[in-house]
């Protein structure tokens, strides 16, 4: 039973990270029906920004939590700007062209950003300062590290903030309106270009936070770190019903859990296989994903 709870803790941590990245995919898809392949790279850029900022702040002798907080905010801001720039340069000019062109543009940007990271940051792994967050505590024999608590706490905080933003503010309302009907929302005075830009920024900020936490959790970042989590998070978004915010959160948690439990009870070799078998099975019975049905008001 302890084994089960240990895996549960691990699964929640991993799932939370997937959920944060999945939100970016789902929000962008919800609003302009684009699979933003460059999103994984934004996640990696966030991880790198985090390592650069945290290393510097930590070396100046600031307390760890202050370093983490400041780095988190700055990296989120940087990635938000980066994603807005990306949207302006690579996607916006193609808004009237076929969807395939935008998709190719997204693929191209993904390769561009990944190689850019490789050229500017090098091919070697970059280490996070190891003394940041140490230790943990044991409940019975279940080991919970402080790092896991931070990850889950930050994830929950961001998810709550996002929900408030989308469902309780004017911007959120405008986002939902734009997602439903771009032309109509434009007619009632919503600047859809601006709303799209903001959507990219929010998704990227969440991915940046995830990138930093993944870097801290595993101790290092590498220029290609965005690829695999990107694919997994995209699957999570599809599993939850792409375009649906709650679905993306749920999908992220489910993928994280399946992975950890498949590795724990069956074999590590098969964890990805099981994650994708479940994905296919769910899509077979529920083609729009788990939460894909009520697209009217929860969709962004």
């Amino acid at each position: 039973m302890d084994f089960f709870f240990q895996q549960l803790v691990n699964g929640i941590t991993l799932g939370g990270v997937y959920a944060l990245v999945a939100l970016g995919y789902t929000m962008v898809y919800g609003i302009i029906q684009l699979i933003n392949f460059a999103h994984g790279e934004i996640f990696a850029a966030g991880g790198y920004m985090g390592v650069i900022l945290i290393s510097w702040l930590f070396a100046q002798g600031y307390p760890p939590f202050l370093c983490l907080g400041v780095a988190l905010l700055l990296a989120m801001g940087y990635c938000a700007l980066l994603a807005m720039a990306l949207e302006k340069l690579a996607y916006k000019p193609l808004r009237q062209s076929s969807r395939l062109s935008v998709l190719l543009s997204a693929l191209g940007m993904s390769i561009f950003l990944q190689n850019g990271l490789m050229l500017t940051q090098g091919v070697y792994d970059r280490a996070y300062p190891g003394e940041m967050v140490q230790g943990g505590f044991e409940v019975g024999t279940v080991m919970i590290s402080y790092m896991q608590i931070i990850i889950v706490a930050v994830t929950v905080l961001l998810l709550v903030a996002l929900n408030l933003l989308v469902f309780k503010t004017r911007i959120g309302k405008a986002m939902r309106a734009t997602a439903q009907d771009k032309t109509m929302s434009g007619l009632v005075g919503i600047n859809s270009g601006r709303i799209i830009s903001i959507t990219f920024a929010i998704g990227a900020a969440l991915a940046a936070a995830a990138g930093i936490m993944v870097g801290l959790y595993y101790g290092s970042v590498r220029y290609d770190m965005g690829f695999v989590p990107g694919i997994k998070a995209f699957s999570a978004a599809v599993l939850g019903g792409i375009g649906n915010i709650t679905g993306a959160m749920l999908g992220g948690l489910i993928i994280g859990m399946i992975e950890v439990f498949a590795a724990g009870y069956i074999s590590s070799e098969y964890k990805d296989v099981f994650a994708f078998i479940i994905l296919i099975a769910v899509l077979y019975f529920m083609p729009t994903g788990i939460m894909g049905e009520n697209v009217d008001d929860t969709r962004v």
Partner: protein, 384 residues
């Protein structure tokens, strides 16, 4: 305002290329194709990029040292190819090197890339000298121009098992590998040998290449409480997160790893979690003049990686043979290769009939942030 926004966007994206342009590419201007062309093969991109670049830099350092000595045969040029540790890409890169008229190829890193790439290379009578692929099969296929400067996994597993039984006096072992030709081959050897040496194998798990999250496997290991946890991963960047997570989980078993995780990067990434980790690695005496010469030549590329010195020695060996033969004719060079007998930076260089150069595995331990020689399986004694 709109213009300013566009400018800002361009600037932001440009931040991804600017620093890259500043760096000068080490690749020499390929003005003259005269002389000797040596190819290097290894993962220059992808998750094992660090190891591939170590090999390339080792070759570059050797070329620099040997170039003044080559006389009329020179200059020696390097054609560095990327195999991304992928069998298909390795074969494509090998074919490219054949077209580029390379006479020798130093590489590859992954055994799973070396073996397929060797087929077209050896058929074209091009020397292939691997500085890093330790899988037995590399030199067991009767290929006349296949050489290996590092050790072999069957010897490595013997040294590892001997260490566990004789020095650590352990009874139980848990094995994990990441399913590459090299890492799984080695782990399987360990499992077989362990069983016949009275070590009980509590479990043998496989993880995926490039995984970063090992929590599920480590939870199993923690529950099994083995005396030794044997970690066979393809490189240091995969091993570092595992060590960090082992520390976080509070696993008390002794950790034994292998040559692929040897890299300064391992200590840099895993920090205090790397302390006390044992690993098998070829014995290198860093006080010899040959090593010093290598260290000086390599300085500008940073700290040598696991296989930098082996790549350096492989290149030196080939160029010495070419010099002695007076041409790059494969038959003549091969005859000279077999006569080589000199002290290299990594080991004493003397190739055997099958292309191997012998193994000299010892146990190293990470102590105070440094790789330190610990135990010698030859005589069963601790290093002083």
């Amino acid at each position: 305002m709109k213009r300013a926004l566009y400018l800002l966007s361009v600037l932001l994206l440009a931040s991804f290329v600017v620093a890259g342009c500043g760096k000068k590419d080490e690749k020499k201007a390929e003005a003259s194709k005269a002389g000797i062309t040596i190819g290097s093969l290894g993962p220059l991109t992808g998750q094992y990029a660090a190891d591939g670049n170590d090999i390339k830099n080792g070759v570059l350092a050797a070329i620099e040292v040997m170039n003044p000595e080559m006389g009329a045969q020179g200059p020696v040029n390097l054609q560095a190819e990327d195999d991304a540790c992928d069998p298909r890409q390795a074969v494509a890169a090998a074919n490219k090197l054949i077209n580029e008229k390379a006479t020798a190829v130093i590489g590859a890193y992954c055994s799973s890339a070396t073996i397929p790439a060797s087929e077209p290379l050896i058929a074209a009578k091009i020397f292939m000298i691997t500085p890093a692929s330790t899988n037995e099969k590399v030199t067991e296929r009767g290929m006349p121009y296949m050489f290996r400067t590092c050790g072999r996994d069957d010897d490595q597993s013997k040294a590892a098992v001997k260490f566990m039984t004789d020095q650590l006096k352990s009874k139980t072992i848990y094995i994990v590998d990441d399913k590459t030709t090299y890492s799984q081959g080695l782990a399987d050897n360990i499992e077989k040998l362990a069983a016949s040496s009275g070590l009980k194998v509590l479990g043998h798990e496989h993880v995926n290449q490039g995984d970063k999250d090992y929590s599920a496997v480590l939870t199993k290991v923690k529950a099994a409480k083995p005396d030794v946890f044997y970690v066979s991963l393809q490189n240091s960047a995969s091993a570092a997160p595992m060590l960090i997570q082992i520390g976080r989980m509070g696993i008390k078993s002794k950790i034994l790893a292998q040559d692929a995780v040897y890299h300064p990067q391992l200590i840099e990434l895993a920090k205090k979690d790397a302390e006390g980790v044992f690993l098998t690695f070829g014995y290198t005496d860093k006080t010899t003049p040959a090593y010093q010469k290598f260290a000086d030549a390599y300085k500008k590329y940073g700290e040598p990686g696991a296989y930098s010195a082996y790549a350096y020695d492989s290149t030196i060996a080939y160029l010495k043979a070419v010099k002695a033969a007076g041409s790059t004719d494969p038959e003549k060079v091969k005859a000279e290769m077999m006569k080589l007998d000199f002290d290299g930076a990594s080991k004493h260089m003397k190739y055997r009939e099958n292309g191997d150069s012998g193994s000299n595995y010892v146990i190293q331990v990470i102590k105070d942030g440094k790789f330190t020689n610990y135990w010698n399986p030859e005589n069963g004694e601790l290093f002083k």
